[in-house]
Symmetry: C2
Subunit: 441 residues, 2 copies
């Protein structure tokens, strides 16, 4: 019997738990779902007799270690910055571990010891990172197997709202952590373009976007992810001249959000006070040099042609011209903005979210340049059974099952870029309608 | 006898220690100067028989508490974010404390307990904050005493280089923490302008500057400090319509530094790797959209008229067009920039630094609007005996002496805005040629 512990019962844990419960008899699993809020854990477990829900305060070292000690495999669905202590405990008590998060510097450091102890620390095994790695590596290995040399790799992913549930001009509703969406892109993006390293600061990130087309779903803006450079080595693309990983939003989203960035509304470092005496109209005006009270005119004067009809509609939808009251009494500009967006970009009960992913390859084969595009679209069912939860949770669940059934033997800190991991993963994902469509030029 | 402990023997501690040693017999002081680097502490103490130097690791709780326990009054010259533990210890062991730093949220919270225990926690008692508060409050109280109502208050301060030592087109050399200079202004500045709250984001801060004139010293750029709003209450300026505290740089500095900000060179959140394979010319090019290698032409194309002759000279001085190698193998853009600036903006042995401060008041008296300007210029002697060290260290030293000699009785978390503190402080500073020149219109 394997005792499996899942820490964190948030939005993305549903599909993970469902899959593992469906396979619990076959795998002889006993499942524990732990969360600070035991109700969230109970919801996920749904009274299944092979599973139990517990309350766990991850900051309580003694309690955390006691729980980890009593399990064989730990899946951490906590926010990325909280994996560190769990990983250290897993190492101390000889437990395997899996996450859907990026490999942190801290995680990287335990690779050697994990390998020596025969432990698996599987990371980046959700959607993005996760499915993107698996599907990209499959194509890379196929192209290389027929003698091709990859010269350009661009990969984009976005968690959006399905067209049939899209009733707002931003084309966006929250299917995961709103804070991450509001702060997305702060820092410096790094990528490779035509053989040159490019650094893109936050103030240019939403300006220098790509336009992507997905057949049947229209056009999307893409802005660069923080770090594309380190994936050149990870993917083994030693001849690549262009390497970019990016995030998708509906067309026009980026130029509108860029106005927020320019205004200063995404700053998360400075607290503003007495903000419940202000409206959102006042807030924007305070960030503008004019002393006029006519926000729309001021925006048109300051941003000129940049503030176009698309953006006017998007701002209108957020009631920015409408003297809507700010409810928070204090907060950073980013927190005040997030508070508004959580209301306006809410995924309602019957709304379907949508995951869109696209890889674009260029490669040299027999002295000609060839292209291939690989695209994925996944839709959710409603605001509980989301495409986001499915595409983040299933890869983790499948890879944990495949490890327990010895379909692969990788040890140490690994990500799903190796054949023995991605092949059975991608094959099984197709059973769940997570299927890439490849188009060779 | 009073046992006085000074923690931190950095740049600004020299004048503080010198003053206290000069008055040690009269005050019956025994002085301890503590630093992680005992050599720095020894330099300051210079074998004086009323003083000793010790090595202290502030992170070592046991050692820190042992040392604090054995003294009566603690002056923390540590970086601001390190005061917290010292303050808690001072509260636990019933010791008075003083710093030259802004009152943090943490410090604010101990006010009540400090008052109850009869302890002084004197803060913001250096130059800026410090001398600015004292000199501004003196004028405010004088204007109010004759029946005036202050409607506008602007106050500017800068630590610069004296004209006779100014041999670079930036007009700037480091007289204090270079990191703070490089990162200055990140976040959102808050001030009051003509009755309206204004928020200014970092990407606009060095664009929307004021131009200040100091008689005999020429013109200076001024950018807004992070927080001017909270000083409306602190200074008791209930009728003020304009309230701005700002930082001075030589004219043209801000428009040039703003190019760094726009490029993304001041981001401190993202590490770049293998940077010792790059030159500073490469680094700037990587932040620009063009694929050309001619940095100067690219800057002219991208920034158009903004990249003018002044800025070209300033960039030239930093060897940015000169393919100068980066020596750090990794670092954030801000760290790479700082590394270059520390070389180029070094205060050399015989260089004199210069402190410039100016307050500009407008007030209503007998139904007419009046103005008053109060200006201060202080020059250093060389790169050891700086105007910065003198103007940061002396106010602290004098206020500690005045407390020990019972010239004032304030308790709790206080700053030098009250008469009993600022009057004897300003009077004594004049003995050290720290004298404001007031000009009434």
């Amino acid at each position: 019997m394997t005792k499996l512990l899942i820490i964190g019962a948030g939005r993305s844990t549903g599909s993970l738990v469902d899959y593992l419960l469906q396979h619990s008899a076959e795998l002889n699993l006993e499942l524990t779902v732990a969360d600070l809020d035991i109700k969230l854990a109970q919801e996920k477990v749904q009274g299944n007799n092979r599973a139990k829900a517990i309350s766990l305060n991850i900051e309580d070292k003694e309690q955390r270690q006691e729980v980890i000690k009593n399990h064989d495999f730990i899946i951490s669905m906590l926010p990325a910055f909280m994996h560190g202590n769990v990983a250290k405990d897993c190492l101390s008590f000889n437990k395997h571990m899996a996450t859907a998060s990026y490999v942190s510097a801290e995680m990287k450091m335990i690779n050697k010891e994990a390998q020596q102890n025969g432990l698996l620390f599987l990371n980046e095994c959700g959607l993005d990172p996760g499915i993107d790695h698996a599907s990209a590596m499959k194509l890379i290995h196929e192209i290389e197997a027929k003698g091709g040399t990859i010269t350009s790799f661009k990969s984009y992913c976005g968690g959006l709202v399905a067209p049939e549930s899209n009733d707002n001009p931003w084309g966006y509703k929250f299917s995961w952590n709103p804070r991450n969406v509001v702060l997305a892109g702060q820092g410096t993006a790094q990528y490779l373009k035509e053989g040159k390293i490019k650094y893109l600061p936050y103030n240019k990130l939403f300006k220098q976007t790509d336009l992507i087309e997905i057949e049947g779903y229209g056009r999307f803006d893409a802005y660069a992810n923080r770090d594309s450079l380190s994936y050149i080595d990870v993917y083994g693309l030693s001849h690549v001249k262009t390497m970019l990983r990016g995030t998708l939003r509906q067309e026009h989203y980026c130029k509108a959000y860029d106005i927020f960035i320019d205004l200063g509304l995404t700053d998360d470092s400075t607290r503003l006070f007495h903000t419940n005496k202000l409206t959102y109209t006042d807030l924007l005006l305070a960030f503008l040099p004019s002393t006029s009270n006519d926000l729309k005119t001021v925006l048109k004067n300051v941003f000129e042609k940049r503030f176009d009809n698309d953006i006017e509609k998007m701002f209108d939808y957020l009631e920015l011209f409408n003297h809507k009251k700010i409810t928070l009494s204090e907060g950073t500009p980013a927190q005040l903005l997030q508070n508004l967006l959580e209301e306006k970009w809410k995924l309602n009960e019957t709304d379907k979210d949508m995951i869109v992913m696209q890889h674009l390859f260029e490669y040299e084969l027999n002295n000609t340049t060839k292209k291939v595009t690989s695209s994925l679209v996944v839709k959710g069912v409603n605001n509980k059974t989301t495409a986001m939860s499915k595409t983040v949770g299933l890869p983790l669940a499948i890879c944990v099952k495949n490890f327990l059934t010895k379909k692969y033997t990788a040890k140490g800190v690994v990500i799903p870029t190796v054949k023995e991991i991605y092949n059975p993963l991608l094959a099984e994902l197709e059973n769940y309608d997570i299927t890439f469509h490849e188009k060779f030029d």
